[in-house]
Subunit: 217 residues, 2 copies
DNA sequence: AATAATATTTAGACAAATCTAAAAATATGT
DNA sequence: ACATATTTTTAGATTTGTCTAAATATTATT
């Protein structure tokens, strides 16, 4: 498996190619910031290798083997993200770029040891699930903070908007994954929220609240 | 810098290209397990980039910039080796292959954090020095265990033979880097040694002793 | 110093991954 | 349903890093 092949499989998986849904050439090209013609070339190659089904002019779906391979890469990516945050004090918004490189390191022993060192985490710093070695994972039931009623509480598990701007805002306000958030009050006028987080009290806009995922107990 | 370019610079450095000694095309080809014609191509490219001096039919030496770049890669390689051994319980003979991949990860912050996590080690698990960020490093004064007189003692700092067979022998006999070795007796007949190491006593052949580097106090 | 042996370079080819521009298929709008 | 717009594919070119085989330079031998 080349690095490029791995990146294509990952992108197709993220576009939903695991459930026999046909993924369009253009969608893949956009996701990967490349040209549709390049996608066509790679689709033929990956079909040849039995990693996906390719129908001319129709699109692409992953085979079971393609799904398995994609999950292995996603597993590595997310484990490295946890490592960077937990062991090397990277902030939330810095990990992605480095993990994009580290996910391609080929060593089963290495990733297993990293997994053990981190004590087998189930979720990455963005709240996304980490597949097991055998490819199992469970999506966390999550809802937007803005959807919770007054007096409810939830654990911060992820973001909808993953832009660097937003992640930096969260860092600046010390809102981190795993934090418990209590909703103290809601403002009818602009739907802004009065919350309690890690002992502190904070006022946040509806725009913030509708980009933060929480898991309710 | 592509991965291939980095590998060429590293190989040339290891062949002595840092001290304006001309390194032959064939030597590089052998070190890298590639063909001389490929080396010629790459030499032209790296000369173009100002990383080495290339004289047709003569050979190649690194420029100051080439040396700096090579040292940065060697620094990364050796820090990753320490990480694998100290933090992930890799054995001595397993680290090289993985470090060959990890050394190409591009993130200054990552390698600085790894350096800090390991508490700024000066030597890698093979006893080779780790260059600082600014490219400084000091070769350790070392001698072969077989050269020490009776009653002398030294700290195990490296190996001459780096074959997997030899490294596995050391693991099996729990002879590890950093261990202090006392020479209790020498056998005139075959120059085998009676040593004390980490509390245990051991009989080792001259062939073993002449492939183990120690640093005397 | 001429010849043989070795080392190095050149020229041309190839595979991987990409691109552009043109052609072909599919989808859309009225 | 027909013309138009969009999507996708094809064909051919490009870049990077490699190779083989032939040509050229250097080194060693007698």
């Amino acid at each position: 498996m080349t690095r490029s092949e791995e990146n294509y499989l990952k992108a197709i998986f993220h576009l939903g190619g695991q459930n026999s849904k046909l993924i369009a050439t253009n969608a893949i090209a956009e996701q990967m910031e490349t040209k549709p013609s390049s996608v066509t070339d790679m689709a033929k190659k990956l079909a040849e290798k039995g990693l996906l089904h390719y129908k001319r002019y129709q699109g692409v779906t992953l085979t079971p083997m393609g799904v398995k391979t994609a999950l292995a890469i996603i597993r590595k990516h997310r484990l490295w993200e946890v490592f960077l945050v937990k062991k090397l004090d990277f902030t939330w918004d810095e990990v992605h770029e480095v993990a994009e490189q580290l996910e391609h390191i080929k060593s089963e022993k290495l990733i297993d040891k990293i997994d053990a060192l981190l004590e087998y985490p189930k979720f990455d710093p963005h709240g996304d699930p980490i597949p097991t070695k055998t490819g199992e994972f469970q999506e966390r039931a999550k809802q937007l903070l803005s959807e919770l009623p007054i007096a409810a509480q939830g654990v911060c598990v992820g973001v909808k908007d993953t832009s660097s701007t937003f992640l930096k805002f969260l860092d600046k306000n010390s809102i981190a994954l795993g934090n418990t958030i209590h909703i103290l009050d809601k403002e009818d006028f602009d739907n802004s929220l009065h919350i309690q987080i890690e002992g502190r009290e904070l006022q946040i806009s509806n725009q913030i609240a509708s980009n933060l995922y929480v898991k309710t107990a």
